[in-house]
């Protein structure tokens, strides 16, 4: 229900968001996390949940160009924003160079952290196209991977930055 004229607290609200180029208008529970809105209501299940404390980064998306953890925001806080999720990374049906580099370098095993890793890595390269290894590590420190030990992830991001990806 919308906030009434009597000043009763709002328990739901209409939000307008643009996600991966598509506009959505939905009424959502005021307490619903952005990640659950993306996953359960927009069926964008590429964004994952790996913790309940904001530590793991599997839910990382871009909100108006900033990398954010979508489990640390309410859906209503995203009202009026433009969001990119992992499903929006491809360009013209081709994998983004980061996506290709992750595959080239075996930077993923189970693939559960991968969407968040890709979004954090993309944010880095968007803002720092030629990062050092230390800068790559720092940019990914909010993303947990339990499979790879990060070795190949760091290599993959470096390769993507240099444009060294397979066709």
């Amino acid at each position: 229900m919308e906030a009434g004229t009597n000043g009763a607290p709002t328990s739901s609200r209409v939000v307008h968001v643009e996600v991966n180029g598509e506009r959505h208008e939905r009424e959502v529970d005021a307490r619903r996390l952005l990640v659950h809105f993306l996953r359960d209501e927009l069926d964008l299940t590429g964004t994952h949940v790996g913790c309940d404390t904001g530590n793991c980064g599997a839910c990382t998306v871009h909100l108006d160009g900033e990398a954010v953890k979508s489990c640390m925001l309410l859906a209503v806080q995203a009202d009026g924003t433009t969001i990119t999720t992992v499903e929006g990374l491809e360009e013209d049906g081709r994998l983004h160079p980061l996506q290709q580099a992750f595959s080239d370098h075996h930077a993923l095993q189970c693939g559960y952290c991968t969407p968040g890793m890709l979004m954090s890595a993309k944010y880095l390269l968007d803002n720092n196209p030629e990062p050092t290894e230390a800068e790559i590590r720092k940019a990914l420190q909010g993303n947990i991977c339990r499979c790879t030990g990060y070795v190949n992830i760091i290599e993959a991001v470096a390769a993507a930055a240099k444009g060294e990806v397979s066709a």
Binding site: D29, R31, R32, H36, R39, D40, D43, L44, T45, G46, T47, H48, V49, G50, C51, D52, T53, N55, C56, A58, T85, V86, E87, L89, E90, L95, Q99, Q100, F102, S103, D104, H106, L108, Q109, C110, G111, Y112, C113, T114, P115, L118, I136, R137, K138, L140, Q141, G142, N143, I144, C145, R146, C147, T148, G149, Y150, V151, N152, I153, I154
Partner: protein, 833 residues
């Protein structure tokens, strides 16, 4: 089988009859088939599966580590709009039977249900469940469930649990002991007589942690009222065993339980013991006639799913010669399995796969007791049970070297099983299949620049840092002989092992592979395709390997799953067998069509064709279409299905139960790691500044995947060695119940890893490969050794715990005598030092 008998079964490479060409896709880094969907966010994990009108489950969990349940009242929860229903322990006790226990008495008497019945035994234990229209609502409703508890005394320490006045968790078992047994191989007393020195270590402690897969556990469960069948879209990693637990509990046949997986976000053994949760889900789906979905929260996973086994080693005694030759050891082990045994007490025998570690110890005596405490239950965790034992053997080697003032490298080389002794029979009858530990060690040492170690020490000293080097030598034993379970319970009807694959040629010539395994990132689709295409003469792109597992594909057997370092042997053995059957059928069909004998034909270029005339060829599509859709005129007796199922079964015997002797695993991959640490002299803070991991898993099907597994196992080991731990307070509260407190390695924590590989093919496995995914925890052992080496100048403290955060290192520095006093050395003349 004895070693001579096994040797007789080894076929020399040139005599092996195999359809796998020498040069093919096997052994190459082909692109992973799994990757595209996963980098696009198009994988399907269980939590991505939705059903119309499904309900979300939230468990009401115990805030007490030990308490009687006085009452459970769900009435207020049921009144909330949008709540579909509830389940309580009382209902569970009526509707199900307790899960089958693997142990002999006293553990056999323990009663384990899907929800707590009458008593809670650890914080986070599920007491009731609520189903509602949304995740949030289910959580709200769970807070309206009123549970009245009567707190009981808590025991969180394994040794304390054995004391006579300790609170008993399971009164029906009579004490906290799940299982106990003694193992005595060789002639330990004679070894003591023969020794020049006897090193005694009072106590060592291997801590609790787990691999904490990033995807938590869960399932979407549907119940079909018409057929009485449940479908679980889930992330169970061992459905074969899961069904054996669940079906009798639910009082249904095995075929009523259908497990379906696609992508799984890591498991590492931690998704083997999901049956209590899944039974609760099944009961709710049936009761509410509605699809229900349970997604575990991170805090729930840490508190109440699966920890690795905690083990305390007491009264360790090591007879050695003055030159460092180790004659054996004896130890008393107390294994703490938490509140319920579940997969235990298998851990009470699994360690015996690697009884002497990498060493030629011939005389070993182990007294093993497993106990319950008011902590989270355990389950297999990457390196399961062998890792704890190998940590012990590596600690022994480094402590002996320290006490005898010998070089740990030389002690290892003197005592390692030698490559010319392979296959090597251990004192308890296991057969180490192949390997060259000394060569792996040399490679590791070269990678870290061991020759210039003393200069590095001096350079570090100039920066007020203490530099230390440590080695971890481990074996990843893979492909279990489940007959070892009879060593803990002779009544168990398990032995051997198996895995299944089916390979078919479809109407349009498509090759379709189904696996019995349940991959979680190991790249099974890719490596299976490599094996298939080499046999069928096509490319990996021509092979469609169905992702995940489905019970109703009928491509599984009793031991199906992905666990215990075995896919390269069992899974690919099944794939190879099924593909060879299909290849023979394709030639048979081709011979009928082409009017020749099958021997005149070969498979190449996506066709079956005449060896002597490549023009006379039938494309796969023609074969598939002829048999499946255009078969008029084919001979009546042509026995060809083009849909071939193969069960791979390694050759095992049931172990000799009296002597506890026999071969417990088929392959033994080697990991030799070398770690270099720098410890700050003032604070105990330390950094791993160099690290080398050398792996030998026989023939590598996909080297990049192997290397990735080595990286991951190493990262988990380094995390466990430095920070990851599940400590409890005296009231049984877990102090690290989420990733905020439980610090796993991040990108900035991981040291640069150097990798080396050799390939000692297994003579016993179908492809010469060995399972290797678990590693043996070598990183923990190497880090402990490196810290001990670094601190040596400060008074020879002894690293006695497997987890060494900075504060513990600081304590070792501050009071070296405290840990050093854990060790004594008796000389043959009776003097002690």
């Amino acid at each position: 089988m004895s070693v001579p008998e096994l040797r007789a079964t080894i076929v020399a490479p040139e005599e092996q009859e195999t359809e796998v060409p020498q040069r093919g896709f096997v052994g190459q880094n082909v692109p992973r088939k799994e990757d595209k969907r996963l980098v696009q966010g198009q994988g399907v994990f269980f939590d991505d599966v939705k059903r119309h009108g499904m309900g979300y489950i939230h468990f009401v969990r115990s805030p007490y580590a030990h308490a009687k349940i006085v009452s459970v009242d769900v009435s207020q929860a049921l009144e909330l709009d949008g709540v579909y229903g509830t389940l309580t322990g009382d209902e569970v006790a009526i509707l199900t039977d307790p899960f089958f226990e693997l142990s002999t008495p006293p553990g056999a008497h323990i009663q384990d249900y899907a929800l707590a019945v009458g008593r809670v035994r650890f914080v986070g234990e599920p007491v009731a469940a609520v189903v509602a229209a949304s995740r949030e609502l289910a959580r709200d409703a769970s807070e309206l469930v009123e549970v009245e508890y009567e707190p009981l005394e808590v025991v969180v320490d394994g040794e304390r649990a054995l004391e006579e006045d300790a609170p008993v968790l399971h009164e029906e078992a009579g004490s906290n002991v799940v299982w106990s047994g003694s193992f005595d191989w060789g002639d330990y007393d004679a070894a003591l007589e023969e020794a020049d020195r006897v090193v005694r270590i009072e106590r060592l402690h291997f801590h609790r942690f787990s691999s904490t897969p990033l995807e938590c556990s869960g399932a979407l469960v549907e119940y079909n009222r018409g057929t009485g069948q449940w479908t679980m879209h889930c992330n169970h990693q061992m459905p074969g065993i899961g069904a054996i637990w669940m079906a009798p509990s639910l009082r249904v046949g095995l075929d009523k339980l259908r497990f379906v997986t696609q992508d799984i976000g890591g498991a590492f053994g931690n998704k083997i013991c999901l049956h209590p949760y899944f039974v609760a889900c099944c009961l709710l789906a049936r009761k509410l006639n509605r699809a229900v979905q349970w997604t575990e929260w991170r805090t729930d996973q840490h508190q109440a799913n699966a920890h690795g086994n905690e083990r305390t080693f007491l009264d360790i005694e090591v007879p050695v010669r003055a030159d460092g030759t180790m004659l054996g050891f004896s130890v008393r082990a107390i294994d703490d399995c938490g509140a319920f045994p579940r997969y235990e007490p298998l851990g009470a025998i699994i360690w015996a796969q690697v009884t002497p570690g990498c060493y030629r110890w011939r005389n070993i005596r182990v007294d093993f007791t497993q106990v319950c405490t008011n902590k989270s239950p355990v389950s297999p965790n990457r390196g399961y049970s062998r890792m704890q034992h190998l940590w012990l053997t590596e600690r022994i080697v480094d402590i002996v070297a320290q006490q005898l003032e010998l070089d740990p490298v030389e002690v290892r080389k003197r005592n390692y099983v030698r490559s010319d002794e392979m296959p090597y029979e251990t004192p308890n009858g296991c057969i180490y299949d192949s390997g060259d530990y000394a060569r792996c060690l040399d490679i590791a040492l070269e990678l870290i620049g061991y020759d210039s170690l003393e200069e590095k020490r001096k350079e570090a000293e100039s920066r007020r840092k203490l530099l230390g080097v440590g080695i971890g030598s481990t074996l990843d034993s893979g492909t279990n002989n489940f007959g070892q379970s009879q060593l803990v319970n002779p009544e168990l009807q398990f032995s051997g092992n198996n895995e299944v694959a089916t390979v078919k040629l479809d109407i349009f010539g498509e090759i379709v592979v189904t696996l019995g395994t349940v991959p979680q990132g190991q790249g099974h689709e890719t490596t299976a395709a490599q094996v298939v295409c080499d046999i069928l003469g096509c490319t990996p792109d021509d092979v469609n390997v169905r992702p995940g597992h489905d019970t109703y594909w009928n491509s599984h057997a009793g031991f199906s799953g992905t666990y215990a370092s075995q896919f390269a042997v069992t899974g690919l053995g099944a794939v190879k067998g099924a593909t060879e059957k299909l290849a023979a059928e394709m030639k048979k069909l081709g011979s009928v069509v082409l009017g020749c004998t099958p021997d005149d034909l070969e498979l190449a270029g996506g066709t079956v064709r005449m060896r002597e005339n490549a023009e006379a060829a039938l494309p796969f599509m023609a074969l598939g279409a002829i048999l499946n859709a255009n078969n008029a005129g084919l001979p009546e007796d042509l026995d060809v299905t083009l849909n071939c199922r193969y069960v791979y079964r390694p050759q095992f015997e049931v172990p000799d139960l009296e002597r506890k002797f026999g071969n417990l695993t088929l392959t033994y991959a080697t990991q030799i790691h070398a770690c270099v640490v720098e410890v700050d002299r003032e604070t105990g803070a330390y950094e791993i500044v160099d690290y080398a991991a050398v792996d030998d898993c026989g023939n590598r099907i996909h080297p990049q995947i192997v290397e990735g597994q080595v990286h991951g196992a190493t990262a988990q080991a380094l995390g466990a060695a430095t920070h990851e731990t599940f400590p409890y307070d005296e009231d049984g509260n877990l102090l690290t119940p989420n990733f905020y407190d439980y610090h796993v390695p991040h990108a900035m924590d991981m040291p640069p890893l150097k990798n080396g590989f050799i390939e000692s093919p297994s003579p016993f496995s179908p492809l010469g490969a060995k399972g290797m995914g678990e590693g043996g925890g070598a990183g923990i052992h190497a880090t402990c050794a490196a810290i001990q080496d670094a601190l040596a100048p400060l008074g020879q403290p002894v690293v006695y715990d497997s987890c060494n955060p900075y504060n513990r290192v600081w304590e070792l520095m501050r009071d070296p005598a405290a840990s050093a006093s854990l060790v004594t050395v008796e000389s043959r003349d009776g003097s002690r030092s």
